[in-house]
């Protein structure tokens, strides 16, 4: 049952991911990516990372991709203007490189021992709940948390300074 669910979700995720590549219009790619994100969110729940699953939806699907689609819609650009020039050969490198990457990854996967998920106590102290994330965030991850705050502030300034109109001072 669970495996079946996993397979369905995985197929959705991969299909959506491939669709990102197949689509020519970035808008469709972005929408397709939402599918992958949502699928992953389901997997996160299956892995008991409930909080992260929700964050995935709220931030990724609900904010990051909104921004993407906003930009795509606002620019509504002819394809050419959004392109960056690359070496021609790079395209043909993609397949072998991807093969290499996959081979490496699957070598790892192949050799990994399968362990059982530990049985955890019920309730909010379990790994993956908001509580566990919240406590970790303020104890062991206190500094990374603050750095993330700084990072976001900086991104705010940086993004605004680039995107705002020329005349603005």
């Amino acid at each position: 049952m669970e495996k079946a669910l996993f397979i369905i979700i995985a197929v959705i995720a991969v299909a959506a991911a491939l669709n990102v590549l197949i689509q020519r219009n970035p808008l469709y790619s972005a929408l397709s990516l939402i599918g992958t994100m949502a699928a992953l969110s389901v997997l996160y729940v299956m892995l008991r990372a409930q909080f992260i699953a929700a964050v995935q939806i709220v931030v990724y699907a609900g904010a990051i991709l909104v921004l993407f689609i906003f930009v795509i819609m606002l620019l509504n650009a002819p394809k050419q203007q959004l392109q960056i020039d690359k070496q021609k050969g790079l395209r043909y490198l993609a397949i072998p490189l991807a093969g290499l990457l996959l081979a490496e990854a699957f070598y790892v996967v192949w050799r990994v021992q399968d362990i059982a998920m530990p049985v955890v106590k019920e309730g909010e102290e379990a790994v993956g709940t908001t509580w566990s994330v919240g406590v970790a965030l303020f104890t062991h991850y206190l500094l990374p948390f603050q750095v993330a705050g700084v990072l976001l502030l900086m991104a705010l300034i940086g993004a605004v300074v680039l995107a705002r109109r020329e005349g603005d001072k």
């Binding site: 990516l33 994100m37 299956m46 992260i52 959004l82 960056i84 998920m117 530990p118 062991h140 680039l162």
Partner: protein, 100 residues
């Protein structure tokens, strides 16, 4: 019970698809989307490991990654906006001032 290796395999697949996309796509935004896809692949690995280990730190890492991805998206799209505006206003057809 889904084994750990399935999760890892899936995430590797997603990561690879993303990486491939970075190589073959030419549209900047799509490339960026592919990078997000790669990050998601990584996140799945981390969450899977974290879940199977019963250790929350992997999830915290993912939390940070998501936050950073948001910051990156904001800045990245701002850059794309700025280049777009310039290209549009300059009306340059093929603006490869910098060759690779």
């Amino acid at each position: 019970m889904v084994p750990l290796s399935w999760y890892l395999g899936l995430s590797a697949l997603l990561f690879t698809i993303g990486a491939m996309g970075v190589f073959i796509k030419r549209n900047t935004i799509t490339i960026f989307l592919c990078i997000e896809l790669m990050l998601n692949g990584v996140n799945l690995t981390l969450v899977a490991l974290s879940g199977f280990f019963g250790d929350v730190s992997g999830q915290l890492f993912v939390f940070m990654v998501i936050a950073v991805a948001a910051a990156e998206a904001a800045v990245g799209l701002a850059i794309i906006i700025s280049i777009f505006r310039n290209r549009e206003s300059l009306n340059v057809d093929d603006a490869d001032t910098l060759k690779l």
